[in-house]
């Protein structure tokens, strides 16, 4: 309990300017006085929070990440040193870093990252549009829900490899084939997020909206969409992961002249049993994932703050 971030009634509440104008704050008296379960960590948090600069906040947000990173690196290095597996199978962090340093500065690598990101973004954007439309239609039109609602999850379970022959039939070996498998992977996830969100919009909010004159698109735009937003966001996050899976698989399938891509590199290094560079590329994929998640996290945080969820 001591380290809750949400729902915890016990929040820092320093004596702000207004309060100190009214009366002098008792020094050292800000901490505590709250729940019976108030203990060391809470007190720490209460005392530490308050009027601080953004860099202080970023700094506070960064140290657990850095600590986690450090722990992972140390653990990894220890495993390597333990000699559990020979180092050509499980290279240590330093070797991987050197390996990365070899490839990262090359133009090919930059171009691979750019190509992959471009595909991910366009494919995901396309999947988002398809997912939204599909999700809203299925969530709100009874007949469609009965007809194809279950189909969405079923489609989602279909592994990308099963789609490749169809993708080749439809798009030959073009970018289109890659986008096709991305959309097939991500759109159902997003649609499911939309459906879940729409399903759990509190009915009273919709009734109010109708009474305020919201009809058709207006009802979606002004009531249902914002109410379902958190769930839609969660679905988009899952959709991004699906998109990325499909993309990596798709880039193994479709190689386009002079256009290296991360999925292809992943495949090549795996084919060559080159653990060193394989792990390097995995780290790059992880880093991209972290960045994207930071984006989602920021949006989520903003929504929660606005709605008083923290």
């Amino acid at each position: 309990m001591a380290t809750d971030t949400n729902h915890d009634g016990v929040r820092p509440s320093p004596v702000g300017p207004a309060a100190s104008a009214g009366r002098a704050a008792t020094p050292g008296g800000t901490a505590g006085g709250s729940g019976q379960e108030l203990s060391g960590l809470d007190a720490l948090e209460l005392a530490g929070a308050g009027r601080d600069r953004w860099w202080a906040r970023v700094g506070r947000g960064a140290w657990p990440k850095l600590l986690a990173l450090a722990l992972v690196l140390v653990g990894w290095q220890l495993v390597v040193w333990s000699g559990w597996k020979p180092d050509y199978l499980l290279p240590g962090p330093v070797a991987v870093a050197r390996g990365l340093a070899d490839i990262v500065p090359t133009a090919d690598f930059a171009s691979a990252v750019a190509t992959t990101m471009r595909r991910a973004v366009t494919g995901f954007a396309f999947a988002a549009v398809v997912g939204f439309v599909l999700g809203i239609l299925v969530a709100r039109i009874r007949v469609l829900r009965a007809a194809i609602g279950s189909m969405i999850t079923a489609l989602q379970t279909m592994p990308s490899i099963a789609w490749f022959p169809l993708a080749i039939l439809l798009y030959q070996l073009t970018e289109g084939a890659i986008e096709f498998v991305i959309v097939l992977g991500a759109a159902p996830a997003i649609a499911n997020g939309v459906i879940a969100g729409v399903d759990y919009v509190p009915p009273v909010l919709v009734r109010v909206g109708r009474n305020l004159g919201a009809r058709g698109v207006g009802l979606y735009r002004h009531v249902i969409a914002p109410a379902a937003l958190p769930s839609v966001l969660a679905g988009m996050k899952q959709g991004w992961a699906f998109a990325w899976h499909s993309l990596m698989a798709g880039e193994l399938l479709v190689t386009i002249a002079n256009r290296p891509a991360l999925g292809q590199l992943l495949g090549v290094y795996r084919d060559q049993s080159d653990s060193l560079h394989l792990i390097g590329i995995m780290l790059v994929v992880l880093a991209i994932g972290l960045m994207v998640d930071a984006g989602f996290g920021a949006v989520n945080g903003a929504i929660r703050r606005r709605r008083g969820m923290t």
């Binding site: 039939l169 030959q172 479709v254 386009i256 002249a257 090549v268 795996r270 084919d271």
Partner: protein, 318 residues
């Protein structure tokens, strides 16, 4: 368990792996190992997984292609594995759309290979280069090389997405069945019409610890190769069924039959061709220079061959 060693042997459910398929399927391997070791066959779908398994000690020996062989050797800096026998030669061809009738007409064509840097891929790039056709790793150049899974290549060819493929059996036969024609049988490009497609890798520490097991395994293989040559029809049947056992679907016997003459089963690892293949790969920039010296350990095989009254094999000239 009862003092017996377990020999964990990797192989692919694939026609070029007919030797282990038949050796396991007819019980010849198990019989040869006798009471010294229990055979535990493990099938793979891709060379890299077999190499990872071998290097990590999950299996003790594996039939793989020359490309994974070189990778396993190179990645472990020659410390982990050695080649103790060959298993098959040939069985790869460039099959293209009938409208392409000569090397020169390949310009601008999309040609599939199984994967970047694998045996067929290297051959394709090398021999295209010999014929004045450039390629790039990322699919550019005069001929566009597009690595993809063999099954996808067949689908892609049928749907017109590619113009041909440099591909192993039985896929080459399948392409021919789908209207392609064999522009180049790879055997014609190699001196003596032979080049290695499958060999037998073993972990060095296993070979050291259990030399008798290795010898018995080789004995089983030699007998199997013999059988393959003498009873092709029966062997083909076993190959088809054994693929079915492993993968859940038997390979069409007609296809096995069609592919059979394109492959030669041999105990000879065709050492020179492996080395040549590596040089080819270096020359098309798919492999960092690697010293393959010491990759072969053919003494046990030669002992077995001598005992069987067959000609011995060599570890090559380089």
């Amino acid at each position: 368990t009862d003092g017996k060693t377990t020999l964990r042997l990797g192989y692919f459910p694939n026609v070029t792996h007919a030797v282990p398929l038949v050796g396991i399927g007819t019980g010849r391997y198990a019989k040869a190992l006798g009471s010294t070791a229990t055979l535990k066959p493990t099938s793979f779908n891709a060379g890299p997984d077999a190499v990872t398994a071998l290097l990590s000690g999950s299996i003790d020996a594996a039939y793989v292609g020359p490309n994974p062989t070189v990778n396993a050797w190179a990645q472990s800096h020659g410390s982990a594995v050695e080649v103790i026998a060959g298993a098959a030669s040939g069985g790869a061809a460039l099959v293209v759309d009938p409208k392409i009738k000569s090397w020169s007409e390949l310009t601008g064509a999309d040609i599939a290979t199984p994967q970047l840097g694998n045996t067929q891929d290297v051959s394709a790039r090398y021999f295209l280069k010999q014929h004045g056709l450039s390629t790039t790793k990322s699919g550019g150049g005069d001929v566009h090389i597009k690595p993809m899974a063999n099954g996808d290549a067949v689908t892609a060819y049928k749907s017109g997405a590619i113009d041909g493929a440099w591909i192993p059996e039985p896929y080459a036969s399948q392409l021919v069945g789908a209207g392609g024609h064999v522009l180049v049988d790879e055997r014609s490009l190699w001196p003596g019409g032979k080049f290695v497609v499958t060999d037998l890798l073993v972990r060095k520490d296993f070979a050291k610890a259990h030399p008798d097991v290795v010898t018995r395994l080789l004995r089983g293989q030699v007998q199997t190769v013999d059988y393959l040559k003498k009873e092709p029809a029966a062997a083909q049947q076993v190959v088809s069924e054994q693929i079915g056992t492993v993968s859940g679907k038997p390979l069409d016997p007609a296809l096995v039959k069609q592919a059979w003459p394109k492959i030669e089963f041999t105990n000879d690892p065709l050492a020179d061709t492996l080395v040549a293949g590596a040089r080819h790969a270096e020359s098309v920039d798919l492999l960092d220079p690697v010293d393959l010296k010491g990759i072969y350990q053919l003494d046990p095989l030669n002992k077995v061959l001598r005992a069987a009254g067959e000609p011995t094999v060599s570890a090559g000239t380089s």
